[in-house]
Each structure stands twice: as C-alpha cells, then as structure tokens.
C-alpha cells in the first residue's frame, strides 16, 4: 500500500503512505431467515476487521436484512465490538496473524492479482475512463452473477438460506418509518422559505451558478448559501443547470 502511493504518485511523507481505514460489517451477508444468526456473522466479521488492523468500525444490527436496526439491535451490535475489544484478548497483540503461512500467502496472492487489474485500468486511462466505458460495472456484474449461481447450486452454503433451513414465522421486531414524516419535512421547508430573506437566498444561488461556470472554488459560495437558508435541493438544482445530470 505504502509502496503504491510512493512509487506511482510521488508521495514523500510516510503519513501519506499509510492506509488508514474504516470497516463496516457486510450488510449483504445478513439473512432475513433466522435473523439472530446474524449476530454470529457480525461477530466473525468484527474479529476479521480487528485482525486486519482497522482504525474505525461499524457493526451491523442483526435485523438489518428486515429493516433499519431497532435500538436494541443497535445496542447488541455495539456490544459485539465491546466484547471483542475488552473480553477477547485479541487487542493485546500487534498483528496476531503475522507469520501465518496461509494468511501471508493469501495476502501476496490477492495483492498480485489486484496489481494486474490495476495495471489493466491504468492502460484504459484510469478509473474515470474505465467507469465511462462500463468496465468496472461489467466486472462486478459478472462476479455477482457467479456468486449468486454458487448459492443457487448449493456450491456455496449460506446457513439458514440454502441449508439448515427452518420453517418459522418472523418474530423479530421490524423497525418502521412512518410515511407521515415526509409531510413533517415539507412543512419545515415551507416555514423556512416563508421566514428567510428570499432575495438574499436567490442571490446566493445565482452566485453558485456564476462560480460553477468559472474555475473558482465552489465551497465558499455553498457555505454562504446554506447560511442564508438555501435548501439542499435548491443548491443541487442550481448546479444541475450548469453541469447537467449523468444518464
């Protein structure tokens, strides 16, 4: 990693060569079937994140295949981190997996294959060109199809989904967001627009438009606009006029 930013991009400060990273446990690995099994999945993934040396971690609620997490599910997710941090002992050693033949060999293998792919993208002209050509999208779609096929054929086992299923009714509480909150938000916008200095707000928006057409930095104009109570949608729309929309 350090080598990458040093060799390719001319970084000279070691701090710029560090990969600081945040980790989130995988939402798509959670299952709606037997949802409490997800606590075990999140625990394993928490351990993997910590063994990998993460600087920051989010753990998913066990009910997230069904809804956003309830307060109780969010607490269990946090407790999972606290148990790994304070009870497991894994934090007492720096890089506990160091020297494991399998992990080191796998790391080298993944690194080598990733390099090949990065070089391929470089040849295409970098990420922006590769995305515009649909390359990344196609690669991901192919892998996703392959993964799904393995689940459907049973080549890959998902506990509770294609093996060890039980016939049960869901008893996990589902967190519901009421549709009425849209009305609450709309009323807040109406009140805001009625009480703000509209002439000032409009002047801020046309200033954003003008700066977007120039090479000046947009941020001071955006800060000024929000301070004068322009809304998120108004600012985004002003730039839609200048930049257009993608697809």
């Amino acid at each position: 990693m350090g080598n990458y930013y040093e060799k390719d991009l001319g970084a000279t400060d070691p701090k710029a060569m560090m990969l600081r990273f945040h980790t989130q446990t995988g939402g798509s690995t959670l299952t709606a079937q037997q949802p409490q099994n997800n606590i075990s999945r999140v625990t394993l993934q928490t351990l993997a994140a910590v063994l990998g040396g993460t600087q920051s971690l989010h753990t998913n609620g066990f009910d997230e295949a069904l809804s956003l997490p309830t307060q109780d599910a969010a607490r269990i997710a946090l407790r999972t981190q606290q148990i790994v941090a304070f009870e497991s002992g894994v934090t007492d050693t720096v890089d506990p997996l160091a020297g494991s033949y399998f992990v080191e060999a796998l790391t080298n293998e993944v690194e080598a294959e990733a390099w090949k792919l990065i070089e391929k993208i470089d040849i295409m002209g970098g990420s922006v060109a590769a995305i515009e050509a649909g390359f990344m999208q196609d690669e991901i779609a192919r892998s996703a199809y392959d993964y799904q096929r393995k689940i459907e054929t049973g080549e890959k086992i998902i506990v509770g989904v294609n093996k060890f299923e039980v016939d049960e009714k869901n008893t996990t509480p589902v967190f519901k967001i009421d549709d009425s909150i849209q009305q609450i938000q709309i009323e807040k916008i109406n009140t805001l627009k009625a009480k703000r200095d509209n002439a000032k707000a409009m002047a801020c928006l046309s200033n954003i438009n003008k700066i977007a057409l120039s090479t000046q930095n947009l941020m001071p104009a955006v800060v000024e606009a929000v301070e004068n109570f322009c809304t998120l949608g108004e600012i985004a729309d002003e730039l839609r006029k200048v930049f257009g929309e993608y697809r």
Partner: protein, 237 residues
C-alpha cells in the same frame, strides 16, 4: 519477510503498538426519519459507549432532492435521516458539541452541501474550525461503478471533489475530505481482488485530479486516502 509496524509499507498496522496503545473508533452508522428522531439515537449511542458518530442519510438527501420533490415521495427518512436545510442539521446535532466529536457522514454526490451545513453549524456553535474533525465519504467514482447515487457527470463531480480538497486544507484542516470505499463495490457482488483493485485505482484517480489542480503538497501531506474496506468473513477469495 521484514514487514514491521510503523514502517513503510505499514503491512502490520499504522501504529507501532496498535490496540495496545489506542482502541479503534467504535463508530455506529445511524440515521432515520427526521433529524429529531436521529438525534435521540445519537444521544443513546453516545450514552452506550460509541466513540464516533456516523450519519446515514435518506436517498433524496443523497441525490440532492428536498423532501418536497416528487422524486422523494415514499423515500423520505427511509434509509437514513432527511436533511433539507441548516435547521435540520442543527436539530440533528442538538446537544452535541461539534468540537468534541468526530463525525463521519456517508454522503457522496451531495457531500459538498452536507459539509457546508456541518461547517456552518460549527461556526454557529462558535467552534474553532481548525479543531473540527470528521469525514465525508465523497467517493463519487464508486457511485458510478457500483452504488448509483450520483447527480452530475464524472468530470463535474471530480471538480467538486477537488474544490473540497483545496478548501478544507485551508479552512477545516483536520477534516478527512474523502473516504475511498471498497465496501459498496464488494456489496454489489465483486470479488476481494476486484474490491481492492478498483478501490485503489479510484484512490489514484482522486490523487491525480488533486495533483492536476496543483494540490500536491497539501494533499499528500494532509490526507492520505483512507479506505472503507469490507470485512471478508472467510479467508477464501
């Protein structure tokens, strides 16, 4: 193989003593419904021992539509909190001093607006902007590649992102201006190799865009690209 900690290329970790010295940040991603409701959840999480906040926004906020837009119908407050104005951000962080917390905001296409809301609130709270810390995801390339919440065409998006790099380096120097994400690439079904390659390649595109803008020293010294990498449960590819 000599790959020690705190030495380039930092394979063993970015701190010499890792968690013996400092625990990771327990940062729970949360947000739903209105700013009032989400604020309650943040206070609850803080009371239970989280060490950093992480804001989830609803889809209209992520793609730059107010809650009264026809395209927002049925989506307001559903997958995250609805934020339309500075007043909503004030409510979201009521009772929380921005100088004392680090806040991560998972926001990309409209990240520049949310950053402006956050900074405007910090100013209103009388905070020293030099002390404000947090992160906006701001990784638009993976939105085109995997996740879909983009607004503008790629080149315009890259201009907004480099404007953020430049402005933050002067005004909010402790802010992490981008978090380059493998997570959504993996969640969309990629392999581990594709996740790493695409994420690093995207990182390179941002660094190059910053270099082209003449931001070389600021960028490489202040903001090493941090990366959001999904935890892989199994040690197989």
């Amino acid at each position: 193989m000599h790959r020690k900690t705190r030495r380039i290329p930092f394979t063993r970790g970015v701190q010499s003593d890792m968690y013996r010295g400092k625990m990771w940040t327990m940062r729970q991603y949360a947000g739903f419904s209105t700013a009032e409701e989400s604020n309650k959840r943040y206070h609850y999480l803080l009371s239970q021992g989280v060490s950093g906040l992480s804001v989830a926004f609803d889809l209209p906020t992520q793609i730059g539509y107010d809650s009264n837009h026809p395209l927002a119908d049925g989506e307001v407050g559903k997958v995250g909190v609805a934020i339309d104005s500075l007043e909503d951000i004030e409510t979201l962080f009521a009772g929380i001093k921005l100088e004392d917390v680090s806040t991560s905001m998972t926001i990309n296409a409209s990240g520049f607006i949310l950053l402006a809301f956050y900074v405007a609130l910090a100013k209103k709270q009388g905070a020293d902007l030099k002390k404000i810390s947090g992160t906006i995801q701001n990784d638009i390339l993976k939105e085109y590649a995997a996740r879909g919440t983009y607004i503008y065409p790629p080149k315009a998006s890259m201009r907004i992102i480099t404007d953020i790099f430049e402005w933050c380096s002067k005004e909010v120097p402790k802010w992490n201006t981008i978090s380059i994400s493998g997570y959504h690439i993996r969640e969309a079904g990629s392999t581990a190799v594709q996740e790493i390659a695409f994420t690093l390649s995207n990182g390179k595109a941002y660094v190059k865009a910053a270099l082209e803008k003449g931001l070389i020293l600021m960028f490489l010294a202040n903001a090493s690209p941090s990366s959001l990498i999904r935890t892989t449960i199994c040690l197989k590819k």
